[in-house]
């Protein structure tokens, strides 16, 4: 019986979380279109999500591109298909690795900060104070963060695509002695515009998911400093997992 109880409780909590997620999604969407529009706050969040994440995304995709070239070269050498390394690097990065790895890194970097910030504001009554001063907290806090994430994630992924492919080029040409011209030609030989756009669409969806989850975690924080810690951890864990789930289904359904 204990076991069934535990399953039931977990299920109820999952449903509650889902309910909160979609309720927040609806609220954020409806407050997005209503005045007042706090343009400076939107820009501040875009800098925090986008510009400040550039170094992390740069390093992540650079090394991913490099290791990808190294691994595929070693593998493809066995059946004399070294000429396909560039194509594999380009396709895997644009369709899959750049969006997913960027989303995971940004979830860790930005999602945790969002949950911690909103959680602290909740437990110190700052969110109540916002409401009391006639400002809707969802509009003031959640909308700029989610909007910034949805807008900046695709830009970060475009950057990641370039950097990752450059990483692959570096390894292939400088380390493994591939011909630069043919490597570049190979890179773009099979690459279609839809590969890039599918990655960009994914990135926007990931941005929506992780930022909204982080905001929900923070917004409904309970129980002081410990609660803030819990909210932050869960924002990163559930954010990362949801990105991976969503990745599979988006790939399956749409592309």
């Amino acid at each position: 019986m204990r076991f069934l109880e535990a399953i039931g409780r977990a299920l109820l909590r999952l449903l509650e979380e889902l309910g909160r997620f979609f309720q927040m999604l609806w609220q954020a969407a409806s407050w997005l279109v209503r005045p007042p529009y706090d343009v400076p706050e939107h820009f501040r969040q875009m800098v925090r999500v986008g510009v400040d994440s550039i170094p992390v995304v740069f390093l992540t995709t650079l090394f991913t591109g490099m290791v990808l070239a190294l691994q595929t070269f070693n593998g493809f050498k066995r059946f004399h298909a070294e000429s396909l390394v560039g194509s594999v690097v380009a396709l895997s990065l644009t369709r899959e690795l750049a969006p997913v790895l960027t989303a995971l890194m940004v979830t860790g970097r930005v999602g945790s900060a969002m949950a911690a910030e909103l959680g602290t504001m909740r437990v110190t009554e700052q969110i109540d104070a916002l409401t009391a001063l006639g400002t809707e907290p969802v509009q003031y806090l959640v909308v700029p963060r989610v909007a910034a994430s949805v807008l900046m994630m695709p830009l970060l992924v475009i950057l990641g695509d370039f950097v990752g492919m450059y990483g692959g080029y570096l390894v292939a040409v400088q380390l493994l002695g591939a011909n630069p011209i043919t490597y570049i030609e190979n890179s773009f030989q099979f690459l279609e515009i839809s590969d890039v756009t599918s990655g960009i669409v994914k990135a926007a969806v990931f941005g929506l998911i992780f930022s909204l989850l982080a905001c929900v975690r923070g917004y409904y924080t309970e129980g002081g400093a410990e609660g803030v810690g819990r909210a932050t951890t869960r924002a990163v864990v559930s954010g990362s997992l949801s990105v991976l789930f969503a990745d599979f289904f988006l790939t399956k359904l749409l592309f």
């Binding site: 009554e125 700052q126 109540d128 104070a129 916002l130 009391a132 001063l133 006639g134 809707e136």
Partner: protein, 273 residues
């Protein structure tokens, strides 16, 4: 006894509360509160700690939704309004929180300026009004400081300044003078009185200071066990021979209010086992 004296019966009350009930996780906090407060009047709520005074205050401004019962502001049922209308109604309020609840991402100036900027006042006017409010609470030189650099008492005073900045019609103060020195306590009381008299503001204050309660209240209510046990004008309240009131006013360890604690503690223990 329960209804606040009305100067003109025709005038609708600014705030009216009907049979308010609220429980948190099975624990009853408010158990049927009724009162109405005409415009320009001041109600002081006193009572032992942890009896739901702050929860009552949060109901008045719609930060907490009642389990049952209604809150009327200007004779409009608050929770029957749309989300947008509720946000608009909240702009009539100013509220100061127990711990100040200052935005710690902003400095003191921006905190006090927040409600003014959100209501779209021009920058020059904002600056003037912020200076004015900070000088009212005797904190002229802290504009550039972060809330984390201030003492608890200072944060509370900044919170007070922020609550009154946009000259709201209704003010809610959650222990505005707890932890302040006697002089500052009196200054805050004077500010509250002045706002009431000059601007006809409706005020609900929570406090533990009986002296402040006497000074700023048109009525004093004792909240215990989720209900208003007694409500009367200050002189009558202080002279009342209601045993609970006597215990609270005289600060005795033994009396009906303590019995209430013990009963609650006993149920908590029996539930826990």
């Amino acid at each position: 006894m329960s209804a606040v004296a009305k100067p003109k019966p025709a005038k609708t009350p600014k705030i009216r509360v009907e049979d308010l009930h609220k429980s948190f996780q099975g624990k009853v906090v408010l158990d049927g509160i009724d009162f109405s407060l005409p415009e320009g009047k001041s109600l002081v709520v006193v009572g032992p700690s942890g009896t739901g005074k702050s929860v009552l205050l949060k109901h008045l401004i719609g930060l907490v939704r009642p389990d049952s019962g209604k809150v009327f502001v200007d004779d409009r049922d608050f929770w029957a309004l749309s989300e947008l209308e509720r946000t608009a109604v909240r702009k009539k309020f100013g509220m100061s929180f127990q711990e100040g609840a200052l935005f710690d991402s902003m400095n003191v100036f921006d905190n006090v300026a927040f409600p003014l900027r959100r209501s779209g006042r021009p920058p020059a006017e904002v600056r003037k009004r912020v200076r004015e409010c900070l000088s009212i609470v005797h904190l002229p030189n802290v504009e550039g400081k972060r809330p984390s650099e201030l003492s608890g008492g200072m944060r509370r005073r900044v919170g007070f300044a922020r609550a009154i900045a946009h000259e709201p019609e209704i003010l809610l103060f959650d222990e505005p003078n707890t932890g302040l020195d006697p002089i500052m306590t009196d200054i805050i009381d004077e500010v509250i009185l002045e706002m009431k008299e000059k601007l006809d503001v409706t005020i609900v204050t929570i406090t533990h200071h009986m002296e402040s309660a006497r000074k700023i209240g048109d009525r004093i209510a004792l909240l215990a066990g989720g209900k208003f046990l007694y409500e009367a004008p200050p002189e009558e309240f202080l002279k009342s021979d209601n045993p609970a009131v006597r215990q609270f006013v005289e600060g005795k360890a033994e009396g009906p209010l303590t019995v209430e604690f013990e009963r609650e503690a006993a149920t908590a223990v029996s539930e826990g086992s």
